[in-house]
Symmetry: C2
Subunit: 438 residues, 2 copies
């Protein structure tokens, strides 16, 4: 008789070679459990958008607007269109033309509707791209460190190595070049670079135009596809916007990843991947990538819900294919919260006290540097004894370099929660420093 | 300088070892192109549900009913609930309790809400299950032959071998036992069996209760998880229903896969996987599988759209958690169409003329056996010269055994289309037979 399939053990043994990787993937569960155990604690851990700006009712009511649009475009009755929308549909999407206009208006990304794959949230786009680009043994994805947990999960489950850029000694572009050469010497190959150039998750950092151009240059040289993830691009609070990497791309280096989870709401579960006209000058390779993404998608989600696409389509029609007007109040709200958090940090940690932080120009996150290590044990201790939950940056790191950092999300906490949370966290920090033998 | 990544070539070389497999995955594109090239041809190729029964407007209007339900259950305002539904949510789903009640009422499947994973359509459930169960080199999925293209795609993209049962010499259960032993002798392992026990896609065949029990027995013996896909279970036109395999399962053998794509409409993109209380008696393995499915899902679609879940939830509340009333008119419609197709076939092929077919007790499909091979060339010829498109069964086969069979879908064609289509196809058959040297 054969032994019963111990699923968890089998998975841990076979696909996830490094047990610490699986642990890394489960940290979000751990965090959710901590948050559930201490419901009164202020959580800076979740990077969710603020619910106050979700207008589900209005957006649902806009669905017939999209039906009417299709009806007049295709010479059908609105009833007939509603039925077709209810049916299975084109794998690569229904609302690609409107999305192309919105990407141009809001992100400066110029693309044809045919080059867009509409996905069930941006996470699916990321998963499809990594699977399609990394198909040979030794193909790897490069990423900054710390990085978004979503790319770690995708790479791990696809059995693709994720290689952290070593930025210690210079620019991101230089680190990419070094990584590409080191990998080549090992018979491996950097196929893709995952990047959130504007208001990075988790660090909050933004790349300058000069940095973006240098990264495009080195990626073109080494034939590394840049997966530009841009969920926060419309949430800039100060400073001049650098163009998106896709806008700057002259040579078919960038696959742009978009989402409506932050600009509208996560429940729409609509994102996209935009494939450039050529991949490094090769139009056939670009077409092949588009076909491959569609083929892969057809065996995971078949097609993205045409109902959700119709909802997004209705909003885009109402807003003349720019979300600028809709996003403005949320952006204002997030800016106020960022400023409030920065103010409270400055008040609680005068002269630093060994604590420092960055000032993100936009987005949902900032990075706090502590004078001591802050990990799983500390986050439980903070939740239990101080009723505050920051996110240990080590949870999102590919090595031990982030042990003294935490991510603070200011997107979905009230000003009162920021007041209480920062004050409690400062108590924790002061008491920990005082208790540490000098 | 490194060579540019020729995506298609790289994929074909690396992941899809057998080029015929990739060809198999692309047949649906081929069929779509044929259908697009000959828009006036009657297509029996698409197994889509009939659009006349989609009530998108009504279902959309029912969403607030689900909000109210959550509000009164959780003591929140309906506004507050709407915002929470718009947010990211629990990976394994929101409406699991209602789905559990519906599965019991309509499919006889008894399960706890906690054992359900709500997915972005049933295809995602299938993909997650195969990936979670087949993690060791040599783990394979068993399936009948011909089979649903969706399992072929999932297995191919997950780099898992799909092994066709050889039913020639006896029962399905015997074929499973033989396959398990042969694989074991090769150092390989059958981990899962994919099965549509009721009104199979593509054949239309249904397994008797005796056959189901024998399959459960042999699968328990060899520790093979049965992936029971049941999209057509509610569409029985005659005869007594055999219980679903999950209902008959006493030993934790069956993961049940459900979908609302046929009972409501495909655009809701909501399906589910139901994990048994134990896997072959092991409660820990069952829990591990549930966790593993959720972890994998979180890195593909994050969570299934809570908006779509709220729509399904609203329908389930309105229907007291049974879709029986809603499905009845569609079932009547499909039965009439099946009968009409059977009647036309009998009229056009009196005494068989070398053509035979089965009489499916339900579902969307029947199998037609021809006196000559019918493949890609013949389907193009039929579309161009006879304006009719059946689906060559070879497109869904894992070997050459299906070359003389076609699948006829009667779910989304009108009676007039059936009349014209069968008459034209009969012309084609008679002319082909006449032109074949006897």
């Amino acid at each position: 008789m054969l032994e019963p399939p111990k699923v968890a053990a089998a998975v841990a043994d076979a696909k996830v070679h490094n047990p610490s990787v699986r642990r890394r993937l489960s940290v979000m569960n751990f965090l959710n459990e901590v948050a559930a155990d201490y419901p009164l604690a202020v959580s800076f851990a979740s990077g969710r958008p603020a619910e106050a700006f979700f207008e589900l009712d209005t957006w649902l009511e806009g669905i017939p607007r999209y039906f009417d649009h299709l009806a007049s475009r295709d010479g059908r009755s609105a009833d007939e269109v509603a039925r077709l929308v209810g049916q299975y549909g084109r794998t690569n999407g229904l609302i690609n033309d409107l999305v192309a206009m919105q990407l141009l208006a809001d992100d400066g990304v110029r693309c044809r509707a045919e080059n867009i794959v509409i996905t069930a949230g941006c996470q699916e786009a990321l998963a499809l791209c990594v699977q399609a680009l990394c198909v040979q043994p030794g193909d790897v994805v490069l990423t900054r460190n710390p990085t978004y947990i979503g790319i770690t999960g995708v790479a791990t489950l696809a059995d693709v190595d994720l290689v952290a850029l070593d930025e210690g000694a210079g620019s991101v572009a230089e680190a990419i070049g070094r990584a590409a050469r080191t990998l080549a010497a090992q018979g491996r190959r950097a196929r893709a670079l995952y990047l959130i150039p504007s208001f990075d998750n988790p660090t909050g950092a933004t790349l300058s135009q000069t940095e973006r151009l240098a990264i495009l240059d080195v990626c073109q040289r080494y034939r590394i596809v840049v997966l530009e993830d841009n969920p926060y691009g419309m949430f800039r609070y100060e400073g001049e916007a650098a163009p998106s990497m896709a806008t700057l791309d002259q040579h078919g280096v960038v696959v742009y990843l978009g989402t409506y989870s932050k600009t509208l709401c996560p429940a729409v579960r609509i994102g996209c991947a935009v494939v450039p006209e050529t991949l490094f000058g090769d139009a056939g390779a670009s077409r092949a990538l588009l076909d491959d993404l569609g083929m892969r998608k057809s065996f995971v989600t078949v097609n993205s819900s045409q109902l959700n696409q119709a909802l997004v389509g209705g909003v885009l029609l109402a807003e003349q294919c720019s979300l600028e007007r809709l996003v403005a109040p949320a952006r204002h709200h997030y800016r106020i919260h960022r400023d409030h958090l920065l103010g409270r940090l400055a008040a609680e940690f005068p002269n630093g006290c060994g604590v420092s932080w960055n000032r993100p120009e936009g987005g949902f996150f900032l990075t706090l540097e502590l004078p001591f290590a802050f990990g799983q044990e500390q986050v439980s201790h903070c939740a239990e004894n101080y009723q505050v939950i920051p996110l240990p940056m080590s949870f999102l790191a590919l090595d031990g370099s982030q042990d003294r950092r935490v991510r603070m999300a200011f997107s979905n906490v009230s000003e009162a929660q920021i007041d209480a949370g920062v004050s409690r966290f400062a108590d924790f920090v002061r008491e920990t420093v005082a208790a540490t033998p000098g």
